[in-house]
């Protein structure tokens, strides 16, 4: 009999925790992860990286010198695709954009909250591989992101397990910074205001 009441009380408590965590993690969702289908041109990363062995920074040329990784200009795409595979339907789209001198309206996949400052330059120059944050892009046709704090993750935390935080969540960044400072004597900042200003 005691157990019944106990179970009831426990249930209510658990529900409260769940609701609370749902709210908290919802309020912290970062980037909207785009669905691959939503890109104007179906750009196959895998072909370019694996088959043609093109370096990431050949197209994303600003990564090493700027806060943003940057996207290749239409001109740069056409640099190859004036000759290469011009008959393919996707490439035709590209040529159209080129002809109309219009930018390609790519759908944004990775977007940190605006109160977070992330410079690609520092990370690329330190030798962090793109894949570390963006996943195995070379295997993807079109990139999609799986990031952000998750409910299960928070639950496990509350339960006391120090699970590895999901990619691009703050804990994940901090873990890496701490690790690099410890192992490679890097000077990865751990000041809050280094990223939040």
């Amino acid at each position: 009999m005691t157990t019944k009441a106990g179970v009831g009380a426990l249930g209510i408590l658990l529900l409260a925790v769940l609701i609370f965590l749902a709210v908290s993690s919802w309020s912290r969702q970062p980037a909207v992860a785009a669905r691959p289908s939503s890109q104007p041109i179906n750009f196959p990363h895998n072909t370019h990286v694996q088959t043609y062995k093109i370096d990431c920074q050949y197209c994303h040329a600003d990564a090493r010198r700027s806060e943003y990784a940057g996207l290749p200009s239409v001109q740069r795409c056409l640099g190859c695709h004036k000759i290469v595979a011009t008959d393919k339907p996707e490439i035709k789209k590209l040529t159209e954009y080129g002809a109309k001198a219009e930018p390609i309206p790519w759908t944004r996949v990775y977007k940190l909250p605006e109160f977070t400052y992330f410079p690609h330059k520092a990370h690329v120059q330190f030798g962090v591989r793109c894949q570390t944050c963006h996943g195995a892009v070379e295997t993807m046709t079109t990139v999609s992101a799986h990031t952000g704090p998750t409910l299960t993750n928070d639950l496990l935390n509350v339960a006391g397990f120090r699970v590895a935080p999901p990619p691009l969540s703050m804990g994940w960044c901090v873990d890496c910074h701490r690790e690099q400072n410890a192992t490679r004597s890097a000077h990865a900042p751990l000041d809050c205001v280094a990223c939040h200003h």
Binding site: F20, P149, N157, V158
Partner: protein
């Protein structure tokens, strides 16, 4: 209720017809009868005010804190004032039930139930204000220490986090205390009622039977709880006072604050108890249980705490004058002489002068006088907190930003609404739970004996 019954009751009271256990059950349970139209009228008013409260709050959340009259330098104003006010009110209850219990003050028995309920509701009201006050209340959960994927924790050095712990602890312990006290009464209620009510009360009473085994753990536990609650009562308002004492602001930065606040809290708490008890006594015709002895005792407590408070005021003035600190003195002088002098005057009159009438014995037992004094005391205590917060901030270290705070419709509405919230809870309470402790009132009565000889040897 007609004055006839009133008079009759007084007569009964004076003739000292000691009620039997049976009478106690009957009278107390009578308070739970379906209420009259007056009760519902009150409920309507309260409900209306409460609606305004929520509308105002919603508006403020939507447009931002600008809706309330805060500014530089008064980043805090009436919200924190009222927050401290309600925390203060929340003191009398646990004080009565815990400390007076340990001191075996028997007269507490017939008032402590109401007082405890008041405590809990007052703290629940106070608890709203940190939320109302926060610029981004939807992030208030940042203050709770829970593991998260950001690896972030609250700052346990911050008096505000102390508040979170102090108040939540106080609320939990008071509630536990309250419920434990209720269990035997609910059992009595259960056995006196029928149908669905009975089933509900049965569940709430945890199947209490009053067997010797239960009583022995019960009384031990109750004693221990009282022992825990006693330091808690004193700590809570001390912690709240440190919100100010820990800050630099001239007029805040004072070691005097902890005892000063605690005393003020008890002072206002008892005033609020009277404000709640007197109508109950009148409408429920409880003169047999709430005798003039009780009023007298409480009046004396108000008088004493009032005098102590006056002493603290004197200390406050003296220390800031004696400190010789230019800024401290400037702040004090400005408070006394400038824009907010009237608030200070109100405070001194209500808290220092008005209780003095209680030196007069007749006043201590006259419900009318007591009621007026209590209301004055509450006003005075609200203004005390106002005077600590608003004028001190208005004239602190930096002359560039000196300024005057002007309330807005929004924050005034919210302040008034908080009273509605409190009374809503209390009105609901008195109709679902015995507002007098059946058991403890019986304890005060002479145990039923067949022959007096045996009875009187204790």
């Amino acid at each position: 209720m007609s004055t006839v019954t009133e008079r009759h009751a007084r007569a009964a009271g004076t003739q000292a017809v000691t009620p039997t256990y049976g009478d106690v059950n009957r009278d107390v349970l009578a308070t739970l009868r379906t209420p009259g139209s007056l009760y519902f009228a009150w409920m309507c008013i309260v409900g209306l005010l409460l609606t305004c409260f929520f509308l105002a709050w919603g508006y403020q959340i939507f447009v931002g804190m600008g809706a309330a009259g805060k500014r530089t330098p008064q980043m805090w104003a009436m919200y924190i004032t009222t927050f401290v006010f309600w925390i203060g009110i929340g003191h009398a209850g646990t004080l009565i039930s815990a400390i007076l219990y340990l001191f075996r003050a028997r007269w507490r028995t017939s008032i402590y139930r109401g007082a405890e309920a008041m405590t809990i509701f007052a703290v629940m009201t106070a608890g709203l204000f940190p939320l109302i006050h926060a610029g981004r209340m939807w992030f208030a959960y940042f203050l709770l220490p829970y593991p998260n994927q950001r690896y972030l924790w609250p700052n346990f050095k911050s008096p505000l986090v102390w508040d979170v712990f102090a108040i939540s602890t106080y609320l939990s312990i008071s509630t536990v205390f309250f419920i434990v006290g209720l269990i035997p009464d609910i059992a009595a209620l259960r056995d006196a009622s029928t149908g669905w009510r009975r089933r509900i009360y049965a569940m709430l009473s945890l199947g209490w039977e009053g067997s010797d085994g239960q009583w022995r753990h019960y009384r031990r536990a109750y004693g221990l709880l009282a022992a825990f609650a006693t330091p808690l009562v004193l700590s809570v308002h001390s912690v709240v006072s440190w919100d100010f004492a820990m800050a630099l602001v001239p007029g805040w930065h004072s070691t005097l604050f902890a005892p000063f606040f605690v005393d003020g809290a008890i002072f206002s708490g008892f005033a609020m108890v009277l404000i709640l008890i007197l109508p109950m006594r009148y409408f429920f015709n409880l003169h047999t249980y709430l005798t003039d002895r009780h009023l007298d005792a409480m009046a004396k407590l108000i008088l004493v705490t009032g005098l102590v408070l006056t002493y603290f005021y004197a200390c406050e003035l003296f220390t800031s004058w004696y400190s010789g600190d230019h800024i401290e003195k400037a702040s004090l002088f400005w408070r006394l002489s400038s824009t907010y002098w009237w608030a200070l005057a109100t405070m001194y009159f209500c808290n220092c002068v008005s209780p003095l009438i209680l030196f007069w014995k007749r006043a201590r037992t006259s419900p009318v006088i007591l009621y007026i004094v209590s209301i004055l005391v509450l006003i005075g205590m609200w203004f005390e907190r106002f005077n600590i917060i608003v004028p001190s901030l208005g004239h602190d270290f930096y002359p560039y930003t000196w300024g005057i705070y002007v309330p807005t419709v929004t924050d005034s509405t919210i302040i008034i609404g908080s009273f509605a919230w409190f009374f809503l809870l209390f009105l609901a309470f008195i109709k679902v739970m015995p507002s007098l402790s059946v058991v403890e009132v019986k304890e005060t009565l002479p145990a039923p004996m067949r022959d007096a000889a045996h009875g009187s040897h204790h």
